[in-house]
Subunit: 131 residues, 2 copies
């Protein structure tokens, strides 16, 4: 597989070098090795970065994301954890959907304040009880 310098990874991923070093330090991405001092990555780093980005925007911490990578070690626990995370995500998706609908409504609602709009308030109540 092709070897990549950090600059190349920065260019192709848009992730700053400082962040890449930080992720490596945290064990989220692994450089293949070193050529002298400088890190050498391979193509798989982009997949990991994609997963990190998506995971972050899903509200997972870097530690949690790191756990998802841990292929070695107890796979049993790992898989249960993944399913758990999927459930968490499901709940989040529901809440976001409610929020999105609320915003869409508020954007066209004639009420002076969104908090005075019955529809918006109902939506909020649902979000509060459901989440």
């Amino acid at each position: 597989m092709q070897e990549l310098g950090i600059g190349e990874v920065v260019r192709r991923s848009g992730v700053p070098a400082s962040t890449l070093r930080y992720y490596e330090e945290r064990g989220l991405i692994g450089s293949v090795g070193r050529r002298g001092l400088t890190r050498v990555f391979d193509e798989t780093v982009f997949e990991r970065l994609a997963l990190i980005t998506v995971g972050r925007s899903a509200g997972f911490s870097l530690d949690e994301i790191a756990l998802m990578f841990a292929a070695d070690g107890r796979p049993r626990l790992d898989r249960a954890m993944l399913a758990g995370k999927a459930d968490e995500l499901d709940a989040t998706i529901v809440r976001l959907t409610v929020m999105r609908d609320g915003l869409r409504h508020a954007a066209v609602c004639p009420a002076a304040s969104h908090l005075e709009c019955p529809t918006f308030r109902r939506i909020l109540r649902e979000a509060g009880s459901g989440g």
Copy 2:
């Protein structure tokens, strides 16, 4: 409407008093007034807190959430902004859905490492390009 002390709000919302004070300072919730030194809230605070909670888990900053409340001031801009936020949310929801599917798959996938699983990698690629 019924007047509530901060302790009551804490009990019914689960939000710590320190956080309530902080939100008030940031202009996210307004106490109705003061009775002596102590803050007095009314029932609408729960709706606001619900919106804040949902908004936070949707990845909005407190500043952004504060803007959503601003009923006064240019309503035109406000509504466009709300629609924009709704679009952002839509994108987020798509990404989360992809992530959730990826996790669900990984939870049952027989591959040793999730990164070796073709399905998982395809899902990631989609997430990366779509996000």
